[in-house]
């Protein structure tokens, strides 16, 4: 705990600029929709959406690990928090998204 107390505030602003930069990039992609990313379909959705999801996960990682300090906690705590989400959320998404696509085909 004491280590990062003494290193000032620059790390907070660094994360701020990363989050702001990624968000701006996402918004620009969302407005201009580059043709290649917008037209290529991969795993059931546009490549552009994969880019959005990856950028969002990076942003989420910075918020959880730095702002919420989880990256500096004891490993036992870190994995107690992260593992349920890492296991249950993809499971939930897999079931609901694949069933949604199936329900579309069955209509």
């Amino acid at each position: 705990m004491t280590d990062e107390q003494d290193k000032g505030n620059w790390w907070i602003w660094k994360v701020f600029w990363i989050l702001l930069g990624l968000t701006t990039f996402e918004v620009l992609l969302g407005i201009y929709k580059p043709g290649f990313l917008n037209e290529t379909v991969f795993l059931g959705t546009k490549l552009l959406n994969h880019v959005f999801i990856i950028l969002t996960l990076i942003k989420g990682g910075y918020i959880v690990l730095v702002f919420m300090h989880l990256g500096f906690e004891r490993a036992t705590l870190k994995w107690t928090i992260l593992l349920p989400a890492f296991i249950l959320v993809p499971f939930l998404l897999f079931i609901l998204i694949s069933e949604g696509a199936y329900a579309y085909l069955m209509m």
Binding site: Q5, V27, T56, V64, L77, E99, G100
Partner: protein
Amino acid sequence: MSDTATYGQAWKGGDKPYVASYGKLMMWFFLITDTLTFSAFLASYGFSRFKFQDVWPKAEEVFTHFPFMHGDHPLLFVALMTFILIMSSVTMVLAVNYGHKMQKEKVILWLSLTIVGGALFLGSQAWEWSHFIHGLDGVHATLISNPYGHPLFADYFFFITGFHGFHVFSGVVFLIVILINVIKDTYEKRGHYEMIEKVGLYWHFVDLVWVFVFTFFYLV
């Protein structure tokens, strides 16, 4: 550090294997359950969107307004809302940071700015909702009908952003409570500002959820 010596013993009835206080741990456990709740909301949004993909409205064609500006500005207002929330997350970390250093005046400053950020976000959300409800050509968006496309789109919009907005509102209330406590010297007497850290965890979580709502509701 003594806890490296007892590390191997921590799970055998040793105290604090997580090296975190009870309150922080419980906040984290609450946040896991909340993560799963919001994941379920967004995943079920995904289900309905895939099922009704032919008639699902495009968010960037629905949310195109910006205060005091005419014409279509897709994504601009929601980007501003995201910026406000990220900014308030930064002021929150600064408050937590100065709490560790026991600098009361700076905690008051940054906590107050965080409250301002939260209030700005709530105001923006109210504006966004009123524009959405106002609808198109005299047809209002409600839970059972909306002029933009499939009615479920409006249901998910009200439900997900409403549930998130309620989290923000609760967060602002928590922040006001701890700000009063800071001013009253409650944490000075207690000898630490850990309560700021716990409320901070909640506040960052609200920001985290918004980052995902922004992507899955507005961008994708």
